[in-house]
Amino acid sequence: MSEIPVTHILFVSTALFFIGMYGLFTRRNMITMLMAIELILNSVNINFVVFNKYLYPEKLDGLFFTIFIITIAAAEAAVAIAIIINLYRSHHSIDVEDATEMKY
């Protein structure tokens, strides 16, 4: 069984990164924007794991980094969702177009 080449996986992770970026810029729903950010962070995770497995199998730095990213992403999502709930109480909406009291 032949191994999947490293470029294929890097292609997936880069595509995931830009899909996340596109989602962040085009979506108007706050929760969806948060999901787009998770996509970006997961593409980074894939990168770290791939580099660790294919290029530096004797080291563990990349795997450790992945674990930390997952943990911090969870903390970030928790704070962001708390803020969104608070915003929903005052705006009665989670659409970013409604949260535009301050401009320019």
């Binding site: 948060l34 950010i37 593409s43 730095d61 930390f68 990213i69 911090i72 915003l87 005052s90």
Partner: protein
């Protein structure tokens, strides 16, 4: 071994101990009155500042992930001082707030994150410190729970900081792919201007550019500064930005020293854009916090000139300027915070006739604004002077000319506020404000700092001596 641990980590440990003390006060059975709690916290922060000056030693911990030196201890002391000043200033706002203790817990955890970030010698540590110092800040921005603007600011902040750390992480992952290591020393040896190396550097710079709010990554700044409570705004604009600058200097000089010719041009473009856009937008602001936000963006452009110097003079001028910027910006924010928490007014027009009712406060605000504008003999002049001098060492006189023109432009909007304070009148000016002793101490520290660092040149020599050894 264990003694090393306690001495090298002492500043982080004192902050952690204060955090635990606050936690115990919070869950304690007896409800304490807010005034006593605030005074206890101020005393603790003062002790924290004093403890920072004891037992300073250089060394590294955790398998070379964490390093400290005299310079790094000095930078941490600066951040401690700024936190103490902000804590003194926010007395009026917090004494009626139900969650004063949570405010301090969140603020001190961000301070802890900044300490680890400054001390990092490894990209993993850098990332952890950065996140620990930004996620609680978003919660802090939402601290006026019932105000819509506050939540809006917090949402904008968490989304933009999450996106920027996403960019930063993608850059770090590519750096790891190239070198197979995250240690700064190993990266510095082999960093080259290969296409992948440049791409990852651009991502890293963009991620950090968001945090220092350099143009074109500045769009979140004004909204967050306006919506967040004033003490949080001043914390964001001084402490958090200062910490990122310390890290940026050490990253650019130590890790990316090999490609310094390349990043010089990037920093040039960033700096010119930042100065011009920050100044032009500051001209048309009516809200005091928004105005200070754009003025702080413009200051970032000047700091970037100092960074481009690529010498010991460059890094010491940046640290010296941040010391001065801390005093002047906190002086200005202190008055705005006081007026906002007592009367709820934040517009520049509300400050008309302020001199007739509050002459002393007007003078503090005027001196701080003069220092921000860079008028001698205030310290701001010398800060900008050393920055431009360090930048001019590279011989890029176009850049220096643009900076000088921008300083003239910035005088317009600083003087506009001063004119409103002293010369204009309105029927119902802000009534006389009784500041109370703790904001007064903060004002004395700020004005004293501005004048003393301006008149006695020892500060710069002291900071420069760290780099000569």
């Amino acid at each position: 071994m264990i003694k090393d641990f306690f001495i090298l980590l002492k500043q982080e440990l004192t902050v952690t101990i204060i955090l635990f003390i606050l936690l115990f006060i919070k869950i304690g059975v007896k409800e304490m009155p807010a005034r006593i709690v605030l005074n206890i916290i101020n005393a603790l922060l003062f002790l924290n500042l004093l403890a920072g000056f004891l037992f300073i030693r250089a060394g590294s911990l955790f398998g070379d992930m964490f390093q400290t030196s005299e310079l790094i201890s000095f930078e941490k002391n600066l951040l401690n001082l700024g936190t103490l000043i902000i804590s003194l200033q926010s007395y009026h706002w917090l004494k009626n707030h139900k969650h004063a203790l949570e405010f301090y817990m969140l603020m001190l955890s961000t301070l802890l994150g900044m300490f680890f970030m400054i001390s990092s010698n490894n990209l993993l540590m850098l990332y952890l410190g950065l996140e620990l110092s930004t996620i609680p800040l978003a919660a802090l921005a939402n601290f006026d729970l019932e105000k819509r603007r506050s939540s809006e600011a917090a949402f904008k902040m968490i989304i933009s900081s999450a996106f920027s750390s996403g960019l930063l992480l993608f850059g770090i992952s590519l750096v790891y792919g190239i070198h197979g290591s995250l240690n700064f020393a190993i990266l510095a040896q082999g960093y080259s201007a290969s296409p992948l190396g440049l791409f990852s550097f651009i991502l890293l710079l963009a991620g950090l550019g968001f945090k220092i709010s350099a143009v074109p990554f500045h769009l979140w700044t004004a909204d967050v500064y306006e919506g967040a409570p004033v003490p949080v705004t001043s914390y964001l604009s001084v402490i958090s930005k200062g910490a990122i600058f310390f890290v940026l200097v050490s990253l650019l000089y130590n890790v990316f020293g090999n490609i310094s010719d390349t990043w010089y041009h990037m920093v040039f473009v960033l700096s010119v854009l930042t100065m011009i856009v920050g100044n032009l937008f500051a001209l048309r602001q009516q809200n005091m916090k928004r105005f200070l936000a754009y003025s702080s963006i413009a200051q970032v452009g000047f700091i970037l000139i100092g960074i481009s110097g690529q010498s010991s003079a460059g890094s010491s001028s940046v640290i010296f300027f941040i010391l001065i910027y801390l005093f002047s910006n906190l002086g200005a924010f202190g008055i705005v915070s006081l007026v906002s928490s007592v009367t709820g007014k934040e517009d520049i027009d509300d400050f008309r006739g302020f001199y007739q009712t509050n002459p002393l406060l007007s003078w503090v605000l005027a001196i701080s604004l003069f220092s921000l504008a860079g008028i001698p003999p205030t310290a701001g002049f010398f800060g900008k002077f050393f920055l431009l001098l360090a930048g001019a060492g590279k011989g890029n006189y176009i850049w220096i000319t643009i900076a000088a023109l921008n300083m003239v432009l910035s005088l317009y909007y600083y003087l506009r506020v001063i004119r409103a304070l002293f010369m204009e009148k309105q029927e119902q000016p802000i009534p006389k404000i009784n500041a109370g002793w703790s904001p007064k101490i903060a004002m004395i520290i700020c004005v004293g700092g501005i004048i003393v660092t301006g008149l006695f040149s020892g500060g710069y020599t002291y900071i420069h001596s760290f780099f000569i050894k």
